[in-house]
């Protein structure tokens, strides 16, 4: 398997595993495995407020992170799966730099509007604004990650040549 494909596969598997972890706490709680559910949920405590009233419920239990974070992560995974359909994995194309900023605008507006009380922040606004950002993010991150990994690997292959040169110079 080529290095770009391998990098893509690692990102896709990582994003999938991350999303599976989000769903595990409600699933485990539903199966009466409260201790394991609590342990996994606590892993996400430093990165999300986990307020129950702002979370998506599965089997009557909240997911590991809030609705906005859930939307971002699940949409990121969906975008990662969509990536090879829209772009070529072997030849990464960087999108224009404004793409990510535009995708971030609804999230920022939703958060600010909620803080300032301009409009009621609902589950729907959280999910849609988060999902838009999450769906766009892989198209920015994956090509940069593939390009970067290829650069790092090719550089590490070149290192012994440099070392040899250094030795012969000495």
């Amino acid at each position: 398997m080529s290095l770009p494909r391998l990098t893509y596969l690692v990102i896709a598997l990582g994003a999938g595993a991350w999303c599976a972890l989000l769903v595990l706490p409600p699933l485990l709680a539903h199966l009466s495995l409260g201790g394991a559910a609590e342990l996994i949920a606590s892993l996400f405590r430093p990165i999300c407020h986990q307020l129950e009233e702002r979370s998506v419920m599965l089997f009557g239990y909240p997911m590991a992170v809030c609705s906005r974070c859930s939307a971002i992560y699940v949409a990121f995974f969906a975008g990662t799966l969509l990536y090879p359909v829209i772009r070529k994995v072997e030849s990464p194309v960087m999108p224009p730099r404004w793409v990510l900023v535009v995708a971030l605008v609804p999230v920022v507006l939703d958060v600010l509007a909620g803080i300032l009380g301009v409009h009621a922040v609902t589950l729907t606004t959280r999910l849609w604004s988060g999902a838009l950002f999450g769906l766009v993010a892989p198209f920015v991150i994956i090509p940069a990650a593939i390009e970067g990994i290829v650069q790092l690997v090719s550089r590490s292959h070149r290192t012994p040549v440099h070392q040899q040169k250094g030795l012969s110079d000495a």
């Binding site: 606590s42 430093p46 940069a144 390009e147």
Partner: protein
């Protein structure tokens, strides 16, 4: 060909940003939005590095990966140290405020009276606990480099050289 500058210092600056945002009570709520503070630190590491980079050398995506991950690692260590220090000095103020806010919400919804006293006691006890435990330490050491790396890649996408514009030629040195 000039050599690329060291990545250590820009990554450390990014790590300090991550650590400070993650440790200061209430400011660390920024991380509740998909680790925005960690992403920002990774981005800033690339920003600082870009400033040190000679015009002849282009910023590469591998720079973004290395800077972001390193900033995240520094940020996790600095953040854990500062979190412990702040807890020793003033206790878990953010935890207490969070529980108080939750109690107010439950009270306004009229469900506080229906809650078992043991549940309320447990919530109050958890607010007194140190935010540092094995899970938070392991979690920070995994999550911060990961999200820092993503921030570094975003930083690269924003600060990458424009397509079709070749890097400036190195200035000739006097013989």
């Amino acid at each position: 060909m000039p050599e690329k500058p060291s990545k250590l210092l820009p990554a450390l600056y990014g790590g300090i940003i991550i650590g400070v945002i993650g440790a200061i009570p209430f400011l660390n709520f920024v991380n509740c939005l998909c680790c925005a503070g960690v992403l920002f630190g990774g981005y800033m590491a690339v920003f600082f590095y870009r400033k040190d980079l000679p015009p002849a050398l282009p910023l590469e995506s591998s720079d973004g990966i290395q800077l972001g991950a390193l900033a995240g690692l520094f940020g996790a260590i600095i953040g854990l140290f500062l979190t412990g220090l702040i807890y020793l000095m003033i206790g878990n103020v953010a935890g207490k405020a969070m529980i108080e806010m939750l109690m107010n919400v439950y009270d306004s919804l009229g469900i506080l009276d229906q809650m078992p006293p043991e549940a309320i006691d447990q919530m109050e006890m958890s607010a007194e606990e140190s935010p540092l435990n094995a899970i938070s330490i392991i979690g920070s050491l995994i999550v911060d480099p990961l999200f820092g790396l993503l921030g570094g890649l975003i930083g690269y996408q924003i600060h990458k050289p424009k397509a079709g514009v070749p890097p400036a030629a190195p200035t000739p040195t006097a013989p």
